[in-house]
């Protein structure tokens, strides 16, 4: 039996159907939460933000035109809210460009080398990518987004999406090399 499509659910939500809202939430909240958490790195804040994301869906469902998939729409809202929340943090002056250059110092490749576990090392190095690179890697590899969808979510041209992904992977290779894993690429 085919389940109700996200687009049909959005139509029902636009008419105030709370059950449709619950179904949509159940379908997407975990992935949206993880997406948000990778930006804000604070579970409580990520939970607050996903509530806001779905509240926006409740409010704006009537305006959804179906130009993108519902999950792409959700991630675009989630990204906007995450970046806005980071900018509001009193202790962190968030600047998207400079944040993009900051890498996760907690994941020191040299330290992880001790684990001698290639998979774990790759994950550690993925976590050590800059925010900008991590974002694109997650969207492609975890959220299964196409070039066009990533362009919509991040708000950049499609060619930039490809280039950014290429450099994210290149940076990952460099981190792995520094951690002692030579992959022979690039």
């Amino acid at each position: 039996m085919q389940s109700t499509s996200d687009e049909v659910l959005i139509g029902r939500i636009a008419n105030g159907d709370r059950l449709a809202m619950q179904v949509l939430y159940a379908r997407h909240h975990v992935r949206v939460f993880r997406f948000v958490l990778r930006y804000v790195r604070d579970e409580a804040m990520a939970e607050d933000l996903i509530s806001e994301v779905f509240l926006d869906v409740w409010r704006q469902a009537g305006r959804f035109e179906g130009r993108s998939s519902v999950s792409t729409w959700l991630l675009a809202i989630a990204r906007f809210k995450s970046l806005s929340a980071l900018r509001r943090r009193p202790d962190e002056e968030f600047d998207e460009d400079s944040a993009a250059a900051i890498e996760d110092e907690a994941d020191d490749p040299e330290r992880v080398l001790e684990k001698k576990d290639k998979s774990a090392l790759i994950r550690q190095c993925l976590a050590g990518l800059s925010a900008q690179h991590r974002e694109i890697v997650d969207l492609v590899y975890y959220h299964d987004k196409s070039v066009e969808e990533v362009a919509q979510i991040v708000g950049i041209p499609e060619n930039t999406v490809k280039t950014r992904m290429f450099y994210a992977r290149k940076r990952l290779a460099e981190l792995l090399k520094a951690a002692g894993i030579e992959r022979g690429w690039p």
Partner: protein
């Protein structure tokens, strides 16, 4: 020769850039075939594709370890929705009864929905008067006007929701091609008699229409089929 090499290099770079999307299965058919063809003939590209797949697997693993939100997030969401609805109930919902009823009726056996012009004109006048009484929140114990000429058809009794506006009621009735023919009824309770069509509807169809109308809770407080 240099030009050919350069073209090959560019093509190779283009294909390499597409590998992550080939791995996640979102390339269009043409690009997917290009990549498949190149992978079959280029061992080095195939090796690099294995690296991509490795990255993809570990990215999924990494994200899956991030856990899930607690029930608090959902509770907060629905509390916010409740609060919002209490403040301005369904202000933004685009009520599109015409589309909904057209979808509903499209499944029915063909039947004539057209009314005679005279009855329709008279009905509109009487209905306007009756909607006036619906919106007048005073004493509704006095029976309202009645369209005596309407004696056959499919009927229901309805109580409109207190927050329904005249425009909403008019649109709602128009969408269902329904007409208020009598009310408020002597039985009290702010009930009105409406006609849904000039011919009786099969019970199953009638039930569908009633359920559909009942779903419009912004406008309908109560509705039931009537003789």
């Amino acid at each position: 020769m240099n030009t050919i090499n350069k073209q090959k290099e560019t093509e190779c770079h283009d294909l390499e850039a597409l590998l992550p999307w080939h791995a996640n299965g979102t390339l269009n058919r043409r690009d997917a075939e290009r990549v498949e063809h190149a992978l079959a003939s280029d061992a080095d590209l195939a090796r690099r594709y294995r690296l991509v797949r490795e990255e993809l697997a570990e990215t999924i693993h990494l994200n899956e370890t991030l856990g899930a939100p607690s029930a608090r997030a959902m509770e907060k969401l629905f509390a916010a929705i409740d609060a919002e609805e209490a403040r301005s109930p369904r202000r933004r919902r685009s009520f599109d009864p015409a589309r909904r009823i057209s979808e509903l009726l499209s499944g029915f056996a063909p039947r004539t929905l057209a009314w005679s012009a005279a009855v329709a004109a008279l009905a509109i006048v009487v209905q306007s008067a009756i909607i006036g009484t619906v919106l007048w929140k005073g004493d509704v114990s006095t029976p309202g006007p009645k369209l005596a000429s309407v004696s056959r058809g499919a009927f229901a009794v309805i109580r409109f929701a207190p927050q329904a506006t005249a425009t909403e009621i008019t649109n709602f009735l128009g969408a269902y091609k329904a007409t208020v023919v009598e009310g408020p009824l002597r039985s009290g309770g702010g009930l009105y008699r409406i006609r849904l069509g000039e011919n009786q509807l099969p019970p199953a169809d009638m039930g569908k229409v009633i359920r559909q109308m009942q779903d419009e809770s912004r406008i309908v407080g109560f509705i039931a089929a009537a003789d």
